[in-house]
């Protein structure tokens, strides 16, 4: 697994930050005993017999422990009918004690030694671990039981020692698996990136490992293949499935000069692109980077848990020692048993897992649904949010105005006028022009061949101008633009047009005029259209009980119309400073406030809000002002994210409540000697499982998408489909495979 760059080093198994590590080192580091163990089992190197041996060791330990338990129970049932024990049974009794000792020995050595090893490593780093306490307790139980057997009298607790070791190992392994499940989902997607790419150099195409690509290289991606790295199309056009990254289910068209995201699928075209970012540095890599960074910054609850954990183990050690001394008069073994129970029940596994597991689970789940939290704290703050303020342009609306209607001076002339309008707008890049051209094209308007335009030029900030050649060949100047570009007082307007103009101005609707030969020929009404999901998203937000409002720089009239559509307050004519002040006001009046915007124009307002949510981050996921980035343009993700944050808060609280409650009750029972250590170990496992399952619940329902994403073929990977190697490959497959491995 990849390690997190920077000063933090990550667990070699679950990828989570290792607390108290000295920074990255060559040796694999593990955040806990469970991860060390799980890694030993799951290591993917088949030639490594250690992995098998670890598992066999656990299996043998379970087997021997079961035997020990049966013999112990046999002795117990003799004890029940104690006075009835005959001579035969007595000799069995002694035999069973020796058998227990003999059978417990391999368990202690096979599971106890690794536990001690882990505890010792922690001790060398100056950390007292609960594993150390457990290992000491188990060893004491074993040694004193062995002495009892040798002396022929006294109690024995071999079954406890074995059970505790088996359960602790199983429990830790379970926790590690849970953590891996909470975090690895997205990393798993990273593995989807093809390991090989078709590099093109002086018209020769060869397959190289993806890792060897550097920016500036040229690569070819054939239809159906996954794009290995971020690149810019140099040649060819295609449709790309970017669902993996943006959540957009429809393929998007990409042509020369467009950027492609590594990991997305090239559906139909054969393209050649220039690599723009090295492997692991592209959009996908950055996304993972943000996610990893988010995991390493603890939230409020997690800091609480960490603070508790700091003094927890020493406190437990002290408490166990007190319990031991208190029971010492009853004999060393019972005292060891009580102290061991205390250690096991107080083991902060559930407590330590309670917060991070839920938060990490939610972070990964969100990331897979195109919502990136900058850190766990942002998730916690989002759960607290009472008010949401929306920016309008580019957030509620899609940012591009669309043609909502037009008025023609003389309807008989419609085709000709529209054809002129199309020719003018088609050549301009202004959003209004493009939108008009698109709408007209949709209507089937094209160049009609009658009206000829020449010398088309764009006058920045004003409009488009050209020379028009009528069918009679007379040239005239034609203009298309705002009412500033075409002075309506000096140009002739028909009554229809003047009326439309007045209404539009009254309603605050933007207009585009087309005029030639001193007459306004046509008026186009432009309006920003709301995103399709805006209304439903606002409805969902209302259902969450949030105080909503829209902040916009638009005129009051336009704001009023938006307010009527959405049924929420819309505050118009706000400058960026006003927006910030409005946020401050909402924070005072309502409570924690989230600001939703594009993260660029409204950066100041976001800075003042408790949580800034940037929409449509796309590949640019590092917008600093936002603590939550939504990669897609999907507004519905906002109520979704708030809901997720609230669920996470609920799960964290449930976990903490459970962990604290279980610990305090269990501790009391253990301290008064009512809890057998074996039962305590079992309870510990059960408690961890409850916390794990509860936390992973946050990811429930995501399997479908995951499976969809994982089911994609990877034809560009020659390991999977060696027959598809193109003939021009000039390196033999073996050396290629070696290159990939290295």
């Amino acid at each position: 697994m990849t390690k997190v760059a920077g000063s933090n080093s990550a667990c070699d198994y679950c990828g989570l930050p290792v607390i108290g590590s000295d920074g990255p080192s060559d040796e694999p580091e593990f955040c806990c005993f469970g991860c060390r163990f799980a890694s030993a089992i799951m290591r993917e190197r088949d030639d490594d017999t250690t992995a098998r041996w670890t598992l066999t060791r656990l299996g043998l330990s379970i087997f021997f422990s079961m035997n020990v338990m049966v013999f112990t129970m046999a002795m117990w049932s003799q004890d029940i009918y104690g006075e009835e024990v005959g001579r035969l049974s007595k000799s069995f009794h002694d035999l069973f004690r020796y058998l227990c000792l003999l059978l417990a020995l391999p368990v202690i050595s096979m599971l106890g030694i690794p536990l001690f090893g882990h505890a010792w490593q922690n001790l060398r780093r100056g950390r007292l671990s609960s594993e150390l306490l457990i290992a000491i307790g188990v060893t004491a139980a074993f040694v004193f039981s062995a002495i009892s057997v040798a002396r022929g009298t006294g109690q024995i607790y071999f079954e406890v020692a074995c059970m505790v070791l088996v359960l602790v190992t199983l429990g830790r392994w379970l926790e590690a698996t849970g953590r891996l499940k909470a975090t690895a989902a997205l990393e798993k997607l990273e593995n989807l990136l093809p390991r090989a790419a078709r590099k093109v150099r002086s018209h020769i195409e060869r397959i190289v490992p993806t890792n060897s690509l550097v920016p500036g290289d040229y690569i070819r991606v054939r239809a159906g293949e996954r794009i290995p790295v971020d690149c810019r199309i140099q040649n060819g056009c295609t449709h790309v499935d970017e669902q993996l990254f943006t959540g957009e289910s429809l393929p998007v068209a990409r042509g020369t000069g467009d950027d492609l995201i590594g990991g997305t699928v090239n559906i139909e075209g054969d393209i050649v692109g220039e690599v723009t970012a090295g492997p692991h540095e592209g959009s996908f890599g950055r996304m993972l980077e943000v996610l990893r960074a988010a995991r390493s910054i603890p939230g409020q609850y997690q800091r609480l848990a960490d603070r508790v954990a700091q003094w927890f183990v020493p406190a437990v050690a002290l408490f166990a020692a007190i319990v031991f001394l208190a029971y010492a008069e009853k004999g060393i073994l019972p005292a060891v048993m009580c102290a061991l129970s205390v250690v096991l029940i107080a083991c902060p596994c559930a407590l330590g897992l309670a917060t991070p597991l839920a938060v990490w689970s939610a972070l990964s789940h969100a990331a897979r649904h195109q919502v990136l939290f900058r850190n766990g704290a942002a998730l916690e703050r989002l759960a607290e949010v009472k008010a949401v303020r929306f920016d309008k342009t580019g957030t509620l609306s899609d940012g591009s105005p669309s043609l909502t209607g037009y008025t023609i001076e003389s309807p008989a002339d419609e085709d000709r006028v529209l054809s002129v309008a199309w020719q003018l707008t088609e050549s301009s890049t202004h959003v209004f022009s493009q939108s008009i051209a698109k709408a007209l094209e949709h209507k089937g308007i094209r160049e009609d061949g009658v009206v000829q335009l020449k010398d088309i030029q764009t006058i920045p900030g004003q409009g488009v101008e050209a020379t028009l050649l009528d069918d009679d060949g007379r040239p005239a100047s034609v203009r298309l633009g705002s009412d500033k570009f075409i002075d309506v007082n000096e140009t002739l307007c028909s009554d229809d047009i003047r009326q439309s103009l007045e209404t539009a101005r009254h309603n605050g609707v933007a207009i585009v005029l087309l005029a030639w030969r001193g007459r306004v020929r046509s008026l186009f009404l432009m309006e920003e259209s709301l995103r399709t999901e805006t209304v439903s998203a606002i409805e969902s937000c209302k259902k969450l009980g949030l105080d909503l409002a829209v902040l916009t720089g638009d005129q009051q009239r336009r704001a009023k119309r938006l307010a009527d559509t959405l049924q929420i307050p819309v505050l118009g004519e706000l400058s960026p400073t006003d927006k910030s002040e409005e946020i401050q006001r909402a924070r005072l009046a309502v409570g924690p406030t989230a600001m939703v915007g594009d993260g660029i124009n409204d950066a100041p307002a976001m800075a003042y809000s408790d949580v800034g949510i940037a929409l449509g981050c796309g590949a640019d996921i590092t917008r600093d002002s936002a603590s939550v980035c939504i990669i897609s343009d999907d507004l519905d993700r906002i109520p979704w994210a708030i809901d997720l944050a609230r669920s996470t808060r609920r799960v964290v609280r449930q976990n903490l409540f459970w962990a604290f409650g279980y610990n305090s009750i269990g501790m009391t029972l253990a301290a008064i000697g009512l809890l057998n250590p074996a039962i305590a170990a079992l309870l510990m496992v059960v408690s961890s499982v409850i916390v794990i399952v509860n936390s992973l619940r946050l990811q429930a329902g995501s399997e479908v998408d995951e499976q969809f994403l994982l089911s994609r073929d990877e034809p560009s990977n020659p390991e999977d489909s060696p027959t598809e190697l193109p003939a021009i490959v000039d390196s033999p497959k073996d050396s290629f495979a070696a290159g990939v491995a290295g």
Binding site: A51, G59, I62, I80
Partner: protein, 261 residues
């Protein structure tokens, strides 16, 4: 030993027969393992040895669980009177067995269950068992290979199974760890023939024959359940009529079997 712990001469063959059904029950789950166990075997006999080892592993676990259940049953009888505890446990076990029998005979249908809802899917936990069954590597002795196969069986025995639980309830109702052990061993041996045959790749039975066999097994389970309930009522009855002789079925006083393991 003042106990009226019954012997189970009638039940044991029935339990064994019922165990045969275990193989139909779990052919979905355990059957896959059985095939995996023999996957890389070089010869039929090598495969057969592995199948036997694997099944022995399962039987070991069943025996262990039976012992624990029997022991817990006897422990429970310390609190209340032995016969009351036995009677109550027998009623529970009987009901479980009857329902299992009815389901298996196809008289009752399982309620539709949705899989994949649990966030921790089964597969990830089964992975290590699968790992134990991978083909041997260089330098691996046949002894470790055998141990691994046996251990895989031990772990498989712990897999959740309604039928196993029903028989464990019966084991608990015996309120004696050795009888618990015996019952579960009988059940375990019952599961072996078809499981080994499946694993060895041999289809000893035609499909209609198999269906008939499973039907018979289902009725065996049902019968065991009815007998157990009868015992339960008898035990409770004998408890209320203190001093009356024990029921004829549980007359025989049992001593601890001399063989252990």
């Amino acid at each position: 030993m003042i106990d009226i712990i019954g012997t189970y001469p009638i039940e044991l063959p029935l339990v064994f027969m019922g165990g045969i059904l275990g193989s139909s029950h779990c052919v979905g789950m355990c059957g896959g393992f059985a095939v995996a166990v023999g996957y890389s075997a070089r010869s039929f006999s090598a495969n057969l040895i592995r199948q036997v080892l694997w099944s022995l592993g399962r039987i070991f676990t069943y025996a262990f669980l039976g012992t624990v259940a029997g022991f817990l049953g006897s422990r429970m009888s310390l609190g209340i009177s032995l016969t009351t505890a036995q009677g109550l446990l027998a009623l529970v076990a009987g009901l479980l067995l009857i329902s299992q029998g009815l389901f298996s005979a196809g008289i009752l249908r399982w309620p539709k269950r949705r899989f994949g809802k649990c966030p921790i899917d089964n597969v990830s936990w089964l992975l290590p068992i699968g790992r134990m069954m991978r083909p041997p590597r260089n330098g691996q002795t046949s002894a470790t290979r055998a141990a691994e196969t046996f251990l895989a069986g031990v772990v498989t025995g712990f897999l959740p199974c309604g039928l196993v639980y029903a028989y464990l309830a019966l084991a608990a109702a015996s309120a004696n760890m050795w009888w618990g052990l015996t019952i579960m061993v009988a059940f375990g041996f019952g599961t072996t023939p078809i499981m080994i045959a499946t694993g060895a790749g041999a289809s000893l039975l035609t499909n209609p024959m198999r269906v008939r066999l499973f039907r018979i097994a289902a009725w065996c389970i049902l019968l065991t359940g009815v007998l157990t309930i009868g015992r339960g009522f008898a035990a409770l009855g004998s408890d209320s009529l203190q001093g009356s002789p024990a029921c004829p079925m549980c007359e025989e006083v049992v001593s601890i079997p001399p063989t252990v393991q």
